[in-house]
Symmetry: C2
Subunit: 300 residues, 2 copies
């Protein structure tokens, strides 16, 4: 993250200090170990994965006008939108420089493609925002893009550095993809249920922006007519008053849609565990299985 | 620029329709031809160069809150800031996908490094904005980063695809770098002198943002005390009223700083022509020399 332009390491240090789960680089490290990688290449590539993720977070926070990230004021809130956009670009470019130094065109391919897919998912999310006609299929397309693509790439890269057969790379990719979907489903439920401290951001962010996530989508689709009027007002027109968030949460609870979202996450989590079954049992496989448990357990 | 997410090709089509000089991809094509490249690789790589440039323009227009780009409403003005940031990210990622398909780690290195350098230059520009203590050295560092780095990379890539000796790649890189500095110097003078139609953007954009470009920097450094008070008010405090832009232009004209900026551009242009001297005279070299003339002639 170093640069002669001091604001770049300053803004980057703010992000590092804010912490975060670092789950994506962890996936690269764990997948490489599961595949028996003995060298050190996975360390730099795990950093690339986190840099790409950080770049997307910086841009997301500008796009979403977020004030908090990981429980601390977001970079755009502290440094402004402009440095956030540009330092995001810098970290993205730096990730590619590190990959070039590593020298694998296949790794470059995986992470360049993931980066394009993330952007597509984010744009699709914008398009579906404030649109209660969004389908479950579109919602899944959004989270496959904005979240699962990088999880899948992070684990696949681990197999690729270990130079393992294609079947193992594909199994780890599927593990990462399904884990990513589960992770995002839990995140989308947490936005309506977690305390701000546990989530590291404000409760109801998605609601205020009118993001059509699964808990809302299921609630809208099972809503009585007067409830649909409510959902349209708050999500499509973004005409929100005090008490509307609480009413939305009560409606979701009465329809059981937060629970249904977590249940869906469990199903994807089970698929992630299935994908690991081609690997022999052992400490490394158990570590990756543990990440699935961790992601689901966040919902408690 | 294609994507199943329709807004991406829509926004991209807006950019294509707006035109532009396409000078950067032209440099890649011309440099490859000068080096005797017989294949077609330079075409896709020229597209990568333009994609990276377009991504930076999309982000710049968000950062600068520009309303016009190339004489037409800017993408952020038409589609909003959010899609502009995200489609910029998409085009940047797509450029790397195309480079991976081309398969040259050296090309990837050149353009990843240029991308990081562009971001550094843009951040440094933000830092020096509204600061009349900015030095000529810092100003040059900004334009070497935000403009010259991609010009240099664009021409170097042309030599690399032709698999020419290092001396030719370095000569073309130096040609691109010095041409890029000349180009930006002219641009910075034009911001105070061109008609909106000729420039494709509003006159005085840099002034309104308090960007410290060479014409302003030279005027401030040669200003009498009461003129310095004026410059500090309009550039540092951004306290601007009707007539201030005209007064600034009059001050620059009385000190000859617009002319001095163009003169500096000519010097860099001469260095660009010098760098071409290791190549035999011929149609291709004359074409690259012609680009230098074109860039300087924009100032007339």
């Amino acid at each position: 993250m170093q640069s002669p332009v001091a604001l770049i390491p300053q803004l980057a240090a703010h992000l590092v200090a804010a912490g975060g789960k670092r789950i994506r680089p962890l996936l690269t490290l764990a997948a490489a170990r599961l595949c028996g990688h003995q060298g050190q290449r996975h360390v730099a590539l795990a950093a690339c994965v986190e840099f790409i993720h950080t770049a997307t977070l910086l841009h997301d926070d500008v796009v979403d006008e977020s004030a908090l990230r990981r429980g601390a004021p977001s970079a755009n809130a502290v440094f402004g939108n402009k440095p956030s956009v540009l330092v995001g670009d810098f970290l993205f470019a730096r990730a590619f420089q590190i990959m070039v130094a590593d020298g694998s065109l296949r790794v470059l391919d995986i992470l360049a493609t993931a980066s394009a897919t993330i952007a597509e998912g984010e744009v699709l999310q914008l398009v579906t925002q404030n649109d209660t006609a969004t389908t479950e299929e579109q919602y899944l397309q959004v989270i496959e893009g904005k979240t699962a693509a990088l999880f899948a790439a992070a684990t696949e890269v681990g197999a690729v550095v270990a130079e393992r057969p294609q079947a193992e790379a594909e199994a780890l990719r599927e593990y990462g993809r399904t884990l990513g979907v589960a992770f995002q489903l839990v995140d989308d439920a947490l936005d309506y249920s977690a305390s701000q401290a546990a989530l590291g951001k404000t409760v109801g962010d998605d609601f205020r922006e009118g993001k059509i996530t699964l808990p809302v989508l299921l609630a809208f689709n099972s809503a009585a007519e007067e409830e649909q009027v409510f959902w349209r007002r708050v999500l499509e027109e973004r005409d929100q008053a005090d008490g509307d968030l609480e009413k939305a949460i009560a409606l979701m609870q009465s329809r059981g849609t937060l629970q249904a979202t977590i249940e869906r996450a469990r199903e994807y989590g089970a698929r992630a565990l299935d994908a690991l079954s081609i690997f022999p049992d052992g400490e490394e496989r158990r570590a990756l299985a543990g990440i699935v448990e961790f992601c689901i357990a966040r919902a408690r």
